[in-house]
Amino acid sequence: MAYDSSYGVNDFAFKVATVNGTGSASANGLLLQALFRMGIPVSGKNVFPSNIQGLPTWYEIRVNGDGYTARSPDFQLVVAMNPQSYARDIAEVVSGGWVLYDDTRPLDPKLKRDDVTFLGVPLAGMCVEHFEKPRTRILMKNITYVGALVALLDIDRDVVKQMLEEKFSAKQHLMDANFKAIDLGYRYAKEHFDCPLPLRLETMDETKDCVMVTGNVAAGLGCVYAGATVGAWYPITPSTSLMDAFTEFCQRFRVDPETGKNNYCIIQAEDELAAAGMVIGASWMGARSFTPTSGPGISLMSEFIGLAYYAEIPSVFFDVQRTGPSTGMPTRTQQGDLMLCAYASHGDTKHIVLFPANPKECFDFAVAAFDLAERFQTPVFVVLDLDIGMNDWMIPRLEWDDAYRPDRGKVLSADDLEKVEKFYRYLDVDGDHIPYRTLPGVHPKGAYFTRGSGHDKFGRYTEGSAEYIEVVDRILKKVESAGDHVPQPEVYGEGATDPDGAASYGLVSIGGCHWAVLEARDELAKRGIEVDYLRIRGFPFNRTVEDFLGAHDQVFVIEQNRDEQLRKLLLMETDCPKEKLVSITYYGGQPLSKGHVLGGLAEHIEILPAGMGGRS
């Protein structure tokens, strides 16, 4: 689309193309945080390779005064720092946009475009001139382009200055170098270009009640607040930073003040199978225990997940989804594990699954996951998208109610056991399909044999049909009853669950799709098309989901996988007829954008002015 300068203020997307391993991450983080502190709604997407050093990497930033922070692939500005990817980076700038590049060496004339403005800054040259050490020169080149952007985009210099002071307060020489680099870029841009560009920033007041954090960090903190004491894991992108965060917060908050020893135990397992076993072992003992992993890990853990399901052992699994199948694209986002998690393991299984849409929900759902796992004595999955887990998100401040106490579910204490005549592990005493549980070592009467082999309601080994069926039928009812206790769906649109009040069309989505769907829905409203929207936040589905599907003539299911997994889950788990649910999928590994949604809808309903088909 042609660039329209009227929306250049606080409404644009730009992209920084660098080489990974050169320190650009901290420069880009600095940029993102500066815009956030200027009070402007902002989002950052780190598009990085599965590699340590030398390959192209990108950082995309979108600012939007109206608060739309889904990924936008329409880049009005590209900071092209990597000759390896010049061609595609320059090609991606929208017509009328700008390219900021390092002109220490002249740009290949073949790369030039007539419809964009090229802003050459001798970044490498200036850094060679002003910094001595080779490594410093490489690192400061990144800070220098930040300096140029400060001038070009009118970023608040005081904010940048304050951030550098905070960051390097203990390292004067680094602070000096960073100030110098910022200044070099800033001065050069001021002297050579007409600053600021039409594309620029103005201070707002939209972020003061917000924080900026990744989903993995928020989830790791949630595990600390939930009272988890045992974490077992095997390193895997993109979930590693969840355990890193848990470890860091434990070191900060979980060291016993008297002895200096740890009120937690983190085990780096030999593989994901062992990590799952450790979680199950610890949970069997009564600890709150969890493991963070990604799709390949869930594949490996599947046998154990079936054990936890059948033996009814609470356990919490975080799946930060990456692009599958197999190794797939480990650093790209997808929602390809919905089916995997809903039914992980052989035989008849079904699990409780939670789907956060931002880091705030990662924190809240982490706590909820432990409560649900213990209440229903079963595995619970918290399924994040890589985009949510690894990228920084602007979210409302997290809140904590100090009156919260964990729901440990139906656990018999030593006193309880003293009173009972005999304890049977899998007996449905209360008629709610949830049996009572005991913890090892508490009381002689509490002992029983935990097994993944056939057992009757008394916990005894069985190969008898009736006894077997009685137990597995109860377990199914138990898990299905959790539908009313998982985070309820978020519904947009008045009367959206009422057949008489609902609009004709409904949208359903999940996880990180949410933000692009919200933006697309607003866009549709501007064009006079009202659509209702429901965001799934938990599985099993409940009545609200069923009602929403029932209330609409047609429902578009928007998700990020090839096989329409959410649509199929809805078809299997509700009474909705097949033809009513139409799929809109995008599974190329990038976060969803408005264009994906509108483009997908345009294939089915008349919504867009000519020439505005979905681009990605």
Binding site: C265, M285, W400
Partner: protein
Amino acid sequence: MSYITKPVARHPAMRVNKLGLTPRDYEGAMSTLCAGCGHDSVTAALIQAFFELDVEPHRVAKLSGIGCSSKTPTYFISEAHGFNSVHGRMPSIAAGANAANKDLLYVGISGDGDSLSIGLGQFCHAVRRNVNMLYVLENNGVYGLTKGQFSASADIGTKSKKGEVNQQGPIDAVNVALTMGATFVARSFSGDKAQLIPILKAGLRHKGFAFIDVISPCVTFNDHVGSTKSYAHTRFHVHEVVETDFVPIRTQIEAEYAEGSVRSVKMHDGSTLQLRKVAEDYDPTDRAAVIDYLGKVVRRGEVPTGLLYLAEAGADMHDFSDTVDRPLVDIEYEALCPGSAALDEVQKEWW
């Protein structure tokens, strides 16, 4: 032997331990293994060991994987918590359980298929982690429940019941444990209760991963001529390297051995082990020398037995993690949750 039920009557003169319990109180369900199975002798020895150590039955956690061996936790201490998990993965369950509650007495029962094939990785890593538990490998060289396939501990040239000859070299569990840094490594024979019971007791009292490889013949699939894990072959080729006496804490040491041949080792809880070397110059605390010596014995076609290696006072999984002394499951929630004020502090850094 599962067609008879156990009698409930007790012999009035049955021995009673310090807790007032009899050996019967350490028994479990009736075994469903084949009559004469070596595993049942191991079970009997375990019952005796627990009884003699005055262990509180409900403070025991007994775990296993899958296979004939892994059925045996059902057959001892009914009042202990049991966990019959998945094939080859019991070590990870035990590690997680121990991480959560270090105060229970953990005993894992495994087999050669469970520990040396499907579960070799978990076995090795449980050793490395030095999980505080007794780990008994009931080793018969054969898969029982699936009817007679060779296991990874079958020796080269050993014959299956069907006449097939094994060509792949065996994995020697003792050697693996030693190489992985195990702090307590023993081998025994299910047919030798006198040797097995003191070793089991020592293993239960050892702080860290106590590994016992027990040759436990499979009477149905691997007790014939041509098998190197049969009763007859094992009896004939046993080479006892070290005799072990377990002396409980505060008990006078009464055994008399020739001077110089006995080595007393203090256990973590204050009890004592007396190791009498049968072989000259055998030092059960010198890992490299033990590996070297055992290699020579094995090459002669003999089965070295006894408490072969011991390193007391090593760091276990909890020491590596520097966890608090009390079990994590006993820590009240209030000490685990940082609260709302801390959350505000954390979020200042997210601005």
